[in-house]
């Protein structure tokens, strides 16, 4: 096991553990903070998968955008935050009611694990068809991505812009106060 792999596993461990804490903790502040950690660890994993641009995007978009938004939302509904901080009895009971959810989630995990275990995926079947082969550590993925986005993925790219505009307009509409409303 080389250091790279070790770091990979550590990152993976961080991802899973922090995610678990995010999900299980009753403390909302801790949960949001650990979400932050998970996202960073994920970005690290992406880097190790030779997807540096994706990792950067992850950090910028998630940490810079999503997380900030969420914090705003928390603050805007801070009463709720406080409420959920002190509800130990409810939390205990919710543990009980969460058991079926846990079973289902575990079931899904089992199915996923079984269906992905032992696959000979060193080179997925379809991929050998591509002459360009595997990505190497030295490749300029940003360059490659740029070219792809302007050729193969031009249509989705443009469409995404329309989509974002709509999301912007819509979210703004929902959030803003009415012109004539009092």
């Amino acid at each position: 096991m080389n250091p790279g792999e070790l770091i990979c596993y550590i990152l993976a461990g961080v991802v899973v553990i922090s995610a678990l804490v995010v999900v299980l903790t009753a403390n909302l502040v801790r949960s949001v903070f650990l979400f932050f950690v998970t996202l960073f660890a994920l970005a690290g994993l992406y880097v190790f998968s030779l997807a540096d641009f994706v990792a950067v995007t992850q950090v910028i978009v998630y940490v810079g955008g999503v997380l900030v938004l969420m914090l705003f939302a928390f603050m805007l509904s801070n009463k709720e935050l406080l409420n959920s901080l002190r509800q130990p009895a409810a939390a205990k009971l919710s543990m009980l009611t969460n058991i079926p959810a846990g079973i289902v989630a575990a079931g899904v995990f089992t199915v996923l694990a079984i269906s992905t275990k032992g696959l000979q995926l060193a080179a997925p079947s379809g991929m050998s068809l591509f002459p360009a082969g595997m990505l190497n550590a030295g490749d300029n993925t940003i360059h490659l991505l740029g070219v792809r986005l302007m050729t193969n993925y031009l249509l989705p790219f443009e469409l995404a812009s329309v989509f974002l505009l709509m999301a912007l307009i819509g979210a703004a509409h929902l959030a803003r106060k009415g012109k004539e409303s009092t």
């Binding site: 596993y9 993976a12 991802v15 899973v16 995610a19 678990l20 995010v22 999900v23 949960s31 994920l42 994993l45 992406y46 190790f48 998968s49 030779l50 997807a51 994706v54 995007t57 992850q58 978009v61 999503v66 938004l69 969420m70 939302a73 928390f74 805007l76 509904s77 009463k79 409420n83 919710s94 009611t97 969460n98 959810a101 289902v104 989630a105 899904v108 995990f109 996923l112 992905t116 275990k117 060193a122 080179a123 997925p124 991929m127 591509f130 360009a132 082969g133 595997m134 990505l135 490749d139 490659l144 991505l145 792809r148 193969n152 989509f163 999301a167 819509g170 979210a171 929902l174 959030a175």
Partner: protein
């Protein structure tokens, strides 16, 4: 480089953690976080397998789109959650149950 199966396993774990969050968290924003976990689980797969797809780089592109779309989705969802908060003074999805059989 860790084996691809391990990536799949990690992503599966993250997916299920997200799923669990979606099922159980009593705060709409945490449910959203769960959804983000699920999306990120998919992103792990895309990114990991994108290594073999140098020609099209479909995985990475998809990952980018997924992240961006997720962000937009979160923005909209948060706007909606704030609206809900306005009426219900709570964002516990379990308590928002006026509409039911």
């Amino acid at each position: 480089m860790i084996p691809l199966e391990h990536y799949l396993l990690i992503s599966a774990a993250l997916f299920c953690i997200g799923l669990y969050a979606v099922f159980t968290r009593r705060n709409a924003i945490q449910v959203l976080i769960g959804i983000e976990f699920m999306i990120n689980a998919a992103v792990i797969n895309f990114v990991a397998f994108s290594k073999y797809d140098k020609a099209k780089l479909g995985g990475q592109v998809f990952a980018l789109f997924a992240i961006v779309l997720a962000a937009a989705g979160v923005a909209v969802a948060l706007a909606i959650i704030l609206n809900v908060y306005k009426y219900y003074k709570t964002i516990d999805p379990g308590k928002i149950d006026e509409l039911r059989d």
